[in-house]
Structure formats: structure tokens, C-alpha cells
């Protein structure tokens, strides 16, 4: 880059989110806030059975209800709406047909069977109670261990069993390492099923203009561009005539990184009826039919030497797919597989990952997506090994960390960690809590019959989802920067946010580069009609991939601007400075041209240097060379009441290294929210199904997400180890809190209860479970 930027004022500064004023004032527009003339309303009839043949569907009474415009069933849309796709490419993967409305069999509770369109939402809801469905119940498959037994009921006769895929790994010499181990620790882990529950439920509004042949779909989605492409394929419409808009999106946590049956059916109904059709998910629908997260049963063995060296890891990972594959379902546990060694150098690893069909809602990406499972396994195993060796959990971790100069580090699972200094972040966390003193205090309290627990988790995770070779549907990102005639800057990004704050952080990047006010920059996203190219926001990739595309596009436009400014100032391009809305020769700020003047010159186009085209706009597609690998150390302190099993979380310290930081407020906000969700998994949340595949936790009366009063004050610290794989040196931080916190908390509670002989406890660690673990150990 030839020109110099002014002093960096905004990158790294704690700028308050520019999005928030409209959000806290209720001035923003979510899908349900958008109302079109003659808009119709859609509701879905869903299966009450987990596995059944549909004998008949009688829609007559519903059709006769005044205000009902249309009732459709699976048969009605066969050949008109394509099957819901799965983008995963895994060798030998079995992909069942996934009709948008069930045709002759239902395979999970909540599966859509029929759709009603009415002139008002109340009638559309009333009509559902008038549809009669006759079922023939089938035996259900609900338990992961049972599902892979040879005598299990098979969900897809054509597949012969319930195994969706098997992925083996045999790196190094695992058998020899186990034979030579001083100790072997073994444990079965249940990583329970979670329900994402973003604050805004899903919703779709579709409008088809028959004259123009255009379909516009407003959807609460994380991936408008994928949705656009897939809808055009499912409905056989020209992609150029399909536009998807993700307006304000109230959270997703991965659950909106998908294409759902309702999106396809509502878009179809709009084209068929030639009327705008809206569907807004009810919270009770969301519990059963928006993707779930986690749900693994893992059998793990670890070989260790007396000095604490981990020599091998062996695991069988059973991952619950649910009844159908959603967009990325089978990919999620592959991330578990890749990240099994966590923050430790383990060269001998043998894995068998088995994806399993059951009669439950599909699992897919939920904040952390596969990495919380891996981190839980490795962090629990390391603690179990330390316990067996009589070693402090701190010592065994330092013993097995790679050294900072070993990066980039190729791991036995085939991934290459980009950069790291695990000692630095761990030491910072240990210092923050004064670890040695804590252990002394713990011993004192124990002698008084009080049970303090200190939990440690040192994690490494994979994010910044790209390069394309590793991300189904593409791992690149696109950004456009356009300087308008008035000198105002429009940023168009493909990473459509749903709470991450790109309107703030991306403007910070551009403002610094151009030396202009952040107020002169608008960041546009979530509309395929305005930003035609993009992938989306997930996998902590927005800044690492989308931000990287943006900085390059920004610099491309800046270079052109500098050429024009140099022409205007009769100066050398290399001597120019962009600062405070002006462009001038270094050392001569008094004879400057304004940023706006240069923009106007570029657009008026009568005083351009030779060979320079009018306008100021650039689009860049960024393809990262590798994933990024953030890391860090979390420490939690709990006290357990052994009489009731209640856990008092007293302190939570997080030291995260996400590379360079654009906005520390956004980073800490991500860490807070991430820890809260990990804490939710560790202590409160769990989707419970009964033996017939009925969801028993179908409302917030029984499914507990942490409330503001139930989380402690988080202490967040950072170390900075830039990533070499993108020009910003950032790694991503959207999921780190979730990835580290659940094992950190379980380690703390197990540590507290170790005097009772408790060695492990399943999540969520409800008071009942904690109390039971103490009873069982005694």
C-alpha cells in the first residue's frame, strides 16, 4: 500500500454499538414488523408422533373455515418444492430425502405435515385444530447407544441401519502408546442436546410479483445468500429473480444458519397464491422444529505417563443427527473430531466418529458447533488424568502445551493451528485468580466441611470459517466499498450479522483507513439485492473473513482515491496522508483536499488523471489460507452445598486470545454471552425426550436458559497473538466463551466434590444431579 493512514483512532477502541439506539428504542424492523398489502398468514400442522405412518389427512373442515385461503399437504407440493438440502460432503454419507412437508411418514415430533394460509393469523391458527390426521404409530429410535445396535428399529429402510456415516482416524501408533502407558483413564461423556432459543424466533415473509417474475423473501436468517440460491433451486426459479432480505435478525447462534422447510413452503405459497404470505414461528414451534445443538455420547480413553505426558487419545464419538440432515448436520461432529487434541500436543490419536439417525429434531450448528463437545472431552480427560496422577490440573496442562515457537503446528487430526502462546494466556488467568492462594484457601475450607471447587479449562478452537475447501457451500467472503459523490462511504458486506455488531466494527476498520469520521460510514448487509455476493455470519468468521475482504476492498478504493488526490494536489501518491477528512502531503496539512472533494472529483469525472476510470468502488472476494485457532484459559470458582447439590458460582475469569481486537466492547460482549450459554449447558439446559420421542422440555417452564440474575459478573482479560492467515490478524471470538465455559464449570464442580470420590458429572449439573453424584460416590 503506497499511502499512509493517519494515526489509528478507532481500531482497538471501545466504540459503543451503533446498532443499539434503534434496538433499545424498538425502532428496528424484524420480519414480523414488515407488513405488506393483502398479506396472508401461514401456520403449520405438525406431527405429535415421533415415528408414524400417515394413513390419511382430512383438511376439509379447515378449508371450509371462513378466512382460510388454502390448505396444502406434502402430496400437494410433491414435484413443486424440492427436498430440503444438506450441504455436507462426507464420504459414504447417507442423505435421506427430506420433503418440506411429510408425505407418508413422520420421523420426529414437530415435523410439518400441512400448511394453512388464511387472511388473518387467528383464523390460520384456528384451522390447524380442524385438520384430522390418522397415524399408524411405529416404534421409535431415541437413544444413541441403542440406535446403532443391530436389533434397533431402522428409521430409513433403504439404508439398512441408523448409521449416517462413519469417519475413522488412526494417527501415529495408538496401540503402542496405550501398551506403554503408565496410566490409562477412561470416561463416557454425554454432551446433552440443547435448544438454541434465539430471542427472535424464525420467520418468513415472501412476495411474488407475477409480472416481473420476482420473488422477494424476508427471512430471519444468518445466510441470505445461501437461502437465495437454494430457494431458486427448490422452486425452480431463475436465481437472478430471487432476492432474500435478512432484516434485523434477533439472534441465531447457528440455528438460522440453515434452510428450513417453512422457508421453502412459504415462498412456494407466495408464488402459487400470488399473494404475500407470512409465517412467524411460535416459541413452542421453535422448541421442536428449529435445529438443536450438541447431542453426543463419547467413549474416551487417554494414555498418560507418570510425568503427566499425554501419549495417546482413543475415542468413539456417537453424534446424533436427528431424523433428517439439515444444512450442515453431519459436519458439526466433524469439528469435534478435528479438535479432539484441544490445546495439547498429542501425536497418537485413534477416532471413530459415527453419525446416528434418531427420531428427534435434526441437530446442527449451535454456538460452538462441535468444539464445545471436543473441549469438554479433552478438558475433562486432562483433569481425570491429573486426578489419577495426583498432579495439579495446572501442571498437566503446562506439561502438554506446545511451545509458542512450534506454530504453525500440524496436529494429528490433520489441521494446522495458525499461531498460539498457550502459556501466556494460562499464566495470565492463574495470576488473575492467584491460583496458589486459592488452593490454600480450598484446603482450609475443606477442613471446615465446605466444598470449594476450582475449575480450569485451557482451550484451543477452530474458527474463522474458511478456506472454501473446508466449508460446505464456500468459505470465502465478499465485501464492497463505495464512496458516494458526497464523500459518504457505503460498505456492503456478505457477512449478514444477527447481533454481532458489524455495523460498528466494520465502520471502525474503514474509518481508520480513510481517516474519516465513523458517522460518514454506513454498513449495509443482509440483502442479496444490494450486496449480491456473500456467505454469511457463523463459525466466528465475520471479521476474520468478511473483515479481511473489507480491508482489502477499502485499500483498493483508497489507492484510486490517492491517485485522484495526487492529481488534484499535483503531488506524489506515495507522500499522501488521509487524516480528519482531508488528504494532504505529509507535513503540509494546510494545503489539503477534502475527502469529499476527491469523491466528487471521481464522480464528476472531468478532472481525472489519465487512465483512471470514474467512480470509487471496489469489491473484493477474500479466500483465507487457513482457519484461525483462538485459544485461552478460563478459571471458575464454585462452592457446592453437599446437602442439596446447589452450586454457588462465585467467580469466573476468562482470558481469551482472539488475535487482534477491533472493538474490545464487542469482544467482551461476545465473551459474556458465550460464557452465559456455556454456563447454560453446564448447569441448566437440556432437551429431554421420553422413550417415545416426545419432547418433555417444550417450553421455558421446563427448559432453563440462564437469566441475567443467574450469571455472575464475568472478569475478562485478553492476550494478543495475531493470526497470520488474514490481513487484520484477527481470529474470531463469537464462540470461545461457550467452548471453554462448560468444561471449566464441570471441572470446578468435580474438583469441589473430589473429597467425596466424585470423578465426573453429567451436564446439566442440576442440584438433583450433583446431590445424586455425591450419594452414588458414597
Amino acid at each position: 500500500m503506497a499511502t499512509m493512514a493517519g494515526p489509528s483512532r478507532l481500531i482497538g477502541a471501545p466504540i459503543k454499538r451503533r446498532e443499539d439506539p434503534r434496538l433499545v428504542q424498538g425502532l428496528s424492523h424484524y420480519v414480523d414488523d414488515i407488513k405488506l398489502v393483502n398479506m396472508h398468514h401461514c401456520t403449520f400442522l405438525r406431527s405429535d408422533y415421533a415415528h408414524a405412518d400417515i394413513k390419511s389427512i382430512d383438511t376439509e373442515a379447515a378449508e371450509n373455515l371462513s378466512g382460510v385461503v388454502k390448505v396444502i399437504t406434502g402430496v400437494d407440493i410433491q414435484g413443486k418444492v424440492g427436498s430440503i438440502p444438506c450441504a455436507a460432503e462426507i464420504e459414504g454419507l447417507k442423505v435421506p430425502d427430506h420433503p418440506a412437508l411429510a408425505v407418508d411418514r413422520v420421523r420426529f415430533v414437530g415435523e410439518p405435515i400441512a400448511a394453512v394460509v388464511a387472511t388473518d393469523p387467528y383464523v390460520a391458527r384456528d384451522a390447524l385444530d380442524l385438520i384430522e390426521v390418522e397415524y399408524d404409530e411405529l416404534p421409535t429410535v431415541v437413544d444413541l447407544d441403542d440406535a446403532i445396535e443391530s436389533d434397533s428399529t431402522v428409521i430409513y429402510d433403504e439404508f439398512g441401519d441408523n448409521i449416517a456415516f462413519t469417519m475413522p482416524l488412526d494417527a501415529g501408533d495408538v496401540d503402542a502408546a496405550f501398551a506403554e502407558a503408565d496410566h490409562v483413564v477412561s470416561q463416557r461423556f454425554v454432551n446433552q442436546r440443547l435448544i438454541p432459543n434465539s430471542i427472535e424466533p424464525r420467520g418468513v415473509l415472501a412476495e411474488y410479483l407475477p409480472g416481473e417474475g420476482t420473488l422477494t423473501v424476508w427471512s430471519s436468517t444468518q445466510v441470505p445468500h445461501h437461502l437465495k440460491t437454494i430457494l431458486s433451486l427448490l422452486l425452480d426459479l431463475p436465481e437472478q429473480l430471487v432476492r432474500v432480505i435478512a432484516p434485523e435478525v434477533g439472534g441465531g447462534f447457528g440455528s438460522k444458519l440453515n434452510v428450513y422447510p417453512e422457508e421453502a413452503v412459504v415462498a412456494y405459497l407466495a408464488t402459487e397464491l400470488r399473494k404475500p404470505v407470512k409465517w412467524i414461528e411460535k416459541r413452542s414451534e421453535g422448541f421442536t422444529t428449529t435445529i438443536h445443538g450438541r447431542d453426543q455420547v463419547d467413549y474416551v480413553d487417554m494414555a498418560v505417563k507418570n510425568d503427566g505426558t499425554i501419549t495417546a487419545l482413543r475415542a468413539k464419538l456417537l453424534a446424533n443427527m436427528g431424523a433428517y440432515h439439515q444444512l450442515l448436520t453431519p459436519i458439526i461432529p466433524v469439528l469435534t473430531y478435528l479438535m479432539m487434541p484441544g490445546a495439547y500436543k498429542i501425536s497418537n490419536i485413534k477416532l471413530e466418529l459415527i453419525g446416528v439417525f434418531t427420531n428427534k429434531m435434526a441437530t446442527d450448528a449451535y454456538r460452538g458447533a462441535g468444539r464445545p463437545e471436543a473441549t469438554h472431552i479433552i478438558e475433562r480427560m486432562v483433569d481425570l488424568a491429573a486426578q489419577k496422577l495426583g498432579m495439579d490440573p495446572k501442571e498437566i496442562r503446562f506439561k502438554n502445551f506446545p511451545q509458542p515457537d512450534e506454530f504453525p503446528l500440524e496436529m494429528a487430526t490433520g489441521v494446522t493451528y495458525d499461531s498460539g502462546n498457550y502459556q501466556m494466556s494460562f499464566n495470565k488467568a492463574l495470576d488473575t485468580v492467584d491460583y496458589a492462594n486459592l488452593r490454600t484457601r480450598q484446603a482450609e475450607l475443606r477442613s471446615q466441611g465446605r466444598y470449594l471447587g476450582i475449575g480450569v479449562a485451557t482451550y484451543a478452537e477452530i474458527c474463522g470459517m474458511g478456506p472454501s475447501v473446508g466449508v460446505a457451500g464456500g468459505g470465502w467472503e465478499s465485501s464492497t466499498v463505495r464512496i458516494e459523490r458526497t464523500g459518504k462511504v457505503t460498505v456492503l458486506t456478505g457477512v449478514s450479522p444477527h447481533g454481532q455488531g458489524q455495523e460498528t466494527s466494520f465502520a471502525q476498520i474503514v474509518a481508520d483507513e480513510y481517516g474519516i469520521s465513523i458517522d460518514d460510514i454506513v454498513v449495509i448487509h443482509g440483502d442479496t439485492g444490494r450486496q449480491p455476493q456473500g456467505i454469511g455470519t457463523f463459525g466466528s468468521r465475520a471479521t476474520a473473513v468478511g473483515g479481511a475482504a473489507l480491508i482489502i476492498a477499502t485499500q483498493q478504493v483508497k489507492e484510486k482515491m490517492a491517485q485522484i488526490a495526487a492529481h488534484m494536489l499535483e503531488a506524489n501518491v506515495d507522500d499522501l496522508v488521509f487524516e480528519d477528512g482531508n488528504i494532504f502531503v505529509q507535513g503540509s496539512p494546510d494545503s489539503a483536499v477534502t475527502f469529499a472533494d476527491v469523491a466528487a472529483t471521481a464522480h464528476v469525472a472531468v478532472n481525472l488523471p489519465p487512465d483512471v476510470e470514474p467512480g470509487l468502488e471496489a469489491t473484493h472476494f477474500f479466500e483465507p489460507s487457513n482457519f484461525t485457532y483462538p485459544f485461552g484459559a478460563h478459571i471458575s470458582i464454585v462452592e457446592v452445598d453437599p446437602e442439596t447439590g446447589e452450586i454457588d458460582l462465585q467467580r469466573y475469569v476468562a482470558v481469551d486470545d482472539c488475535g487482534n481486537i477491533i472493538n474490545p466492547l464487542l469482544v467482551d460482549g461476545q465473551v459474556h454471552g458465550g460464557i452465559a450459554q456455556g454456563l447454560g449447558q453446564a448447569m441448566y439446559e437440556g432437551a429431554v425426550y421420553d422413550e417415545n420421542g416426545q419432547l418433555l422440555t417444550g417450553s421455558f417452564m421446563d427448559y432453563a436458559i440462564p437469566k441475567a440474575t443467574q450469571v455472575p459478573r464475568f472478569e475478562t482479560e485478553h492476550t494478543t497473538t495475531p493470526s497470520p492467515v488474514n490481513p487484520l490478524g484477527v481470529k474470531g471470538v463469537g464462540e470461545a466463551g461457550t467452548i471453554a465455559s462448560s468444561p471449566c464449570l464441570v471441572n470446578a464442580v468435580v474438583d469441589a466434590l473430589s473429597p467425596f470420590g466424585v470423578t465426573d458429572i453429567d451436564m446439566p449439573m442440576t442440584p438433583n444431579r450433583v446431590w445424586q453424584a455425591i450419594q452414588d460416590a458414597q
Binding site: 405429535d48 408422533y49 415421533a50 413452542s284 416426545q694 419432547l695 417444550g698 417450553s699 421446563d702
Partner: protein, 150 residues
């Protein structure tokens, strides 16, 4: 969900048997029973309004009596559905003469519920079932005992 309970009815075993297996008498004893129509082979079509508090559902379905071993044992099969879900149960009834004019009825069975009922009602379904069975036997006791001499 397991259903297991014991009940005492102040009447002799034959009389209790009659009340537990006769459609007309049954319909008077099943709480909320609006209709019980014999369709043959020990099967009845039933419309039953079940519920606690304001949470009531009208269930349409079938009641079937099987393994009839008068007057000591039979199996009751129930299937019903409403707009808020379905229920399905199988329960063995065992009648024992405790004293003259006092019969012990033991229930042992399974109840499965589905749909919204299961999703939001897990906490109270067991209790509600227990209460409903309690009310049923209260009514049986009332009818069987008071009608003894008729």
C-alpha cells in the same frame, strides 16, 4: 410413565367387577366421560373430557377391555386424542377379595402421552393421572357400595 396404585371398594368382588366392566356403569364412573359407546368385542368408543385446573381437553378415542378373567383380572387399553395431544395407556386390573363386601383393586400399567400435552405438561401428568384414577374409584365406590341392596 408407570401407573401403579391400590384401591379399596366397599362391595363384593362380583359387584366391583360389574362396575368396572359394564359400559353404562363405567361411563358413570369415568371422570368427565361424555360418551361411551360399545362397538363390540370389548371395545368402546369414548368421548372424555379430562383435565385439571383450566387445562381441559376433550379426548376422543377407544377403550378396550382385554384378557377378561371374571371376576379377578382384566386389562384396560385406552387410546385418545385431542387438539392438545394424545394419550395411550394399558393397565392391568387385579381384583382381590379383602373381606366380605370389600374388594381390593390393584392397578399396574403404563401411560404414554404425546404432543403439546407432553411438551408442557410433564410436571403434572403423573399427578393428574393419579387424581383421575382416584376420582374414578371414588365414584365406583359410591355406586357399588350404595347400590348393594338394589
Amino acid at each position: 410413565m408407570q401407573i401403579k396404585s391400590d384401591h379399596t371398594v366397599s362391595a363384593n368382588r362380583e359387584r366391583v367387577w360389574e362396575h368396572l366392566t359394564d359400559a353404562e356403569l363405567l361411563s358413570q364412573c369415568i371422570p368427565g366421560c361424555e360418551e361411551l359407546k360399545a362397538t363390540g368385542g370389548g371395545t368402546y368408543e369414548a368421548t372424555i373430557k379430562v383435565g385439571v385446573a383450566g387445562i381441559k381437553g376433550t379426548y376422543k378415542g377407544t377403550v378396550r377391555l382385554e384378557n377378561m378373567q371374571p371376576p379377578s383380572a382384566y386389562r384396560l387399553m385406552v387410546e385418545g386424542k385431542s387438539t392438545i395431544g394424545f394419550l395411550k395407556g394399558a393397565c392391568d386390573f387385579r381384583l382381590e377379595e379383602a373381606k366380605p363386601d370389600e374388594t381390593k383393586v390393584g392397578l399396574n400399567g403404563e401411560l404414554a402421552v404425546g404432543g403439546k400435552l407432553a411438551r408442557v405438561g410433564q410436571r403434572i401428568i403423573g399427578s393428574a393421572a393419579k387424581m383421575t384414577i382416584g376420582q374414578f374409584f371414588k365414584q365406583i365406590n359410591k355406586l357399588a357400595a350404595t347400590d348393594t341392596d338394589s
